[in-house]
Amino acid sequence: MKLDSRIPEGPLAEKWNNYKANQKLVNPANKRNLDIIVIGTGLAGASAAASFGEMGFKVKNFTIQDSPRRAHSIAAQGGINAAKNYPNDGDSVHRLFYDTVKGGDYRAREANVYRLASVSNDIIDQCVAQGVPFAREYGGMLDNRSFGGAQVSRTFYAKGQTGQQLLIGAYQALMRQVNAGTVEMHTRTEVVDYVIVDGKARGVITRDLVTGEFSRHFGHAVVMATGGYGNTFFLSTNAMGSNGSAAIKAYEKGAAFANPCYAQIHPTCIPVHGEFQSKLTLMSESLRNDGRIWVPKKKEDAEAIRAGKKKATDLSEDERDYYLERRYPAFGNLVPRDVASRAAKERCDAGFGVGTTGLAVYLDFKTSIERLGEDTIRARYGNLFQMYEKIVDDNPYAEPMMIYPAIHYTMGGIWVDYELQTTVPGLFSAGEANFSDHGANRLGASALMQGLADGYFVLPFTIQNYLADDIRTPRMTGDEKEFVEAEKAAKAKFEKLMSIKGSRSVDSLHKELGLVMWDFVGMARNKKGLEEAIEKIAAIKKEFWTNVKIPGSDKGMNVELEKASRLADFITTGDLMARDALNREESCGGHFREEYQTEEGEAKRQDDKFTYAACWEYKGEDKAPELHKEELKFEVVKVAQRNYK
């Protein structure tokens, strides 16, 4: 496998312009004869499909949901970054770029991140033109707030529903193309494999989730934008249907999987409360703007609180330990997510945690309510407070919230070059599904930015450069042997699942996998634990393939069968994550190896050995994947230890 990042020539700030000036284009008459398949309708998928349609390509767009508007991008609360510098607080493209590389703990590719920062402003313009109702000031101008890992206010937001509004904007643009006939929409349809012809991605095999029928679809190019693989952990902030199967299928067809171990643990989620729990709910990071995080200073107080003998409000100011403000005076409660998560875990492990389980810390709005008034706090976070109250049955205006870290986002993903093309020619990957821009840790409000950057402003250029060589490639019918064989293999997999007829439900096996992941491949990892995890995951895999129980039939809708096929891929992902975490003998961003920390317990990178993206090549069922390295070169950024003190 050859990894060629294809970074254009020239100084960093000029690379994207140079690329655009020299790339190949497709003329309008030829666009009509070129088909693009887009998998996923989240921010990246919908914005790409809509833009391709507007350009005149023929697009087929697939989603497992009943409507493209359901994609999980919709749940992003906080906001979207851009380097507009509207507040005049010293922001610039360069600063946004720098913050993103630093926030990612120097494990992202400079050229990609710079391009991301440079198109960020276009995204805001585009969304406003679509009618996205961003928050505004009384003068009618757009409002900004600040977010973790930045010292400027560059985050645009729409109440606590920014992801929803941006997705609806992209969805509407997409439906406009459906109406125009350029995009063919396939809902409740799952892509179960890719079709490779002469080494190039030329189509997909789908399964209709309502009828259970398989179909073959041709595309001159294929874009996969199916999000992350956080649900490997069973409990995460991802939606129930979010899955990593399209990524694993790409990996099995020859796409390198990069940095699988980089998973982001979000510091502000509602703590786990019971065995029946199906998912974890995120409380937007924006809450850290006005909320202060603390635990009791004295262990006795923490114990009394856990036993229900004391309440948070019983403790006076000097009985509280605002540990983030104490440890990181410069950034305080606004340190990046990985730092905030680990600090919470450290306090809870040391016995200062609150809640009935001891796995929770307080997020307190008292100071802000005193300073700004309850109405202001309600205007800023009302819907989040309501959500908290509905779930926990506590009033966060009176009592501090309780929060704990949870799996939220995966920075790792399918390896792509500068053009967002994977190691399989013609297969592109966008949004959270690729590994591209966030290094080892993603800053808040950057996921929305990346999804839309890829879909609106990067792929529409780069895919032309690829398709320009394809204008003479006629459409395939789907009867070619590669299509027939791929469909046969996909069908066989589903038949095999149905034939096992064991005794374990899909969820019970998934929960077992999730526990192994959380305990050994979670917030803190070490060699012994990771080796143990790999063995345990292999055992779960065996149990799954011999003892899973799926009632019903594979004709018609069968939700358990859908879940089982995705769990099979989560098991592969889990194994890959553990292997990558074992290989990476350093701590960086969301990857924390206990063996590699400073005396104060901060992450310690090993730049001389690990300044690379770890790219894994599939070698066959039950064979260990092979590691390839993309060395990361920093020409502009000065690599340093991250310091938020």
Binding site: R70, H72, G131, P133, F134, M175, V210, A239, K390, P551
Partner: protein
């Protein structure tokens, strides 16, 4: 405080869109009142799988009240007995020990049943496709701050835009009208200068599509507003009617 309750569930089962459905009764012991309604459904399904039976199919995804995927008619109310929440945010503390809970799919001509509690809501997508957007393509748009927008207008647009497309308004309406859904989109865009340009045309196209797809006419019963989990107001319907009329006058 956490508590365990026992429940009797009367659940609508229907193997596919053509089958004649009917209620099945299930007993559930020890459901924690801290669990959500959908977690209770998971417990039921785990129990059914254990017995080798097919689990109940229901739509859900984000489980935090934003994707609009979950539905369910619970004891005669869309999204159940709690106000301003979706079914996924409904918690079992709203139910009593030994209560019987009746669970049905959305029932409306516009939303045919696919299986059990799952219905087909693609009609909503078709209504949006008919005109629920501003006609701008990617690129070549002015600076985001080029047009100041009064905060009140932006806030009001945001309120209308918070519709999650769940369909509760249709399910609860005795006429099966989709007016609240349509008016939320028409209002959201009409309140902003970017969307104002096409406002009348949009209203006409979307209402036309709604009628064509078999949704009923609005007779102002106001039931939709009561059941909307996102508090979308029927004031939007008045605005829609104004835009619609102005489009008709131009004809």
């Amino acid at each position: 405080m956490e508590n365990n309750i026992s429940l009797t569930l009367k659940v609508w089962r229907q193997s596919d869109s053509k089958a004649k459905g009917g209620f099945e009764t299930y007993k559930l012991e020890t459901v924690s009142t801290d669990s959500s309604f959908l977690e209770m459904m998971d417990i039921l399904n785990e129990q059914l799988v254990g017995e080798g039976k097919e689990p109940v199919a229901f739509d859900h995804d984000c489980r935090e009240g934003i994707c609009g995927m979950c539905s369910l008619y619970i004891n005669g109310r869309p999204h159940g007995p709690d106000d301003d929440v979706t079914t996924c945010q409904l918690h079992m503390r709203k139910f009593k020990n030994n209560e019987t809970i009746t669970i049905e799919p959305w029932r409306s001509a516009g939303f045919p049943v696919i299986k059990d509690l799952i219905v087909d809501r693609t009609a909503f997508d078709q209504i949006i496709a008919a005109g629920g957007y501003t006609s701008v393509s990617t690129g070549g748009v002015p600076d985001a701050n080029a047009l100041p927008i009064p905060k009140d207008d932006a806030d009001e647009a945001m309120d209308a835009a918070s519709c999650i497309g769940c369909g509760a308004c249709v399910a609860t309406c005795k006429n099966g009208s989709a007016m609240l859904f349509v008016s939320a989109k028409v209002s959201h865009l009409a309140l902003l200068p970017q969307g104002q340009v096409e406002a009348a045309l949009r209203a006409k196209a979307m209402v036309g599509k709604m009628d064509e797809l078999g949704f009923g006419a609005c007779t102002n019963t106001g039931a939709c507003e009561v059941e909307c989990p996102k508090g979308v107001s029927i004031a939007n319907i008045a605005r829609l009617n104004r835009e619609y009329l102005s489009a008709k006058l131009k004809d």
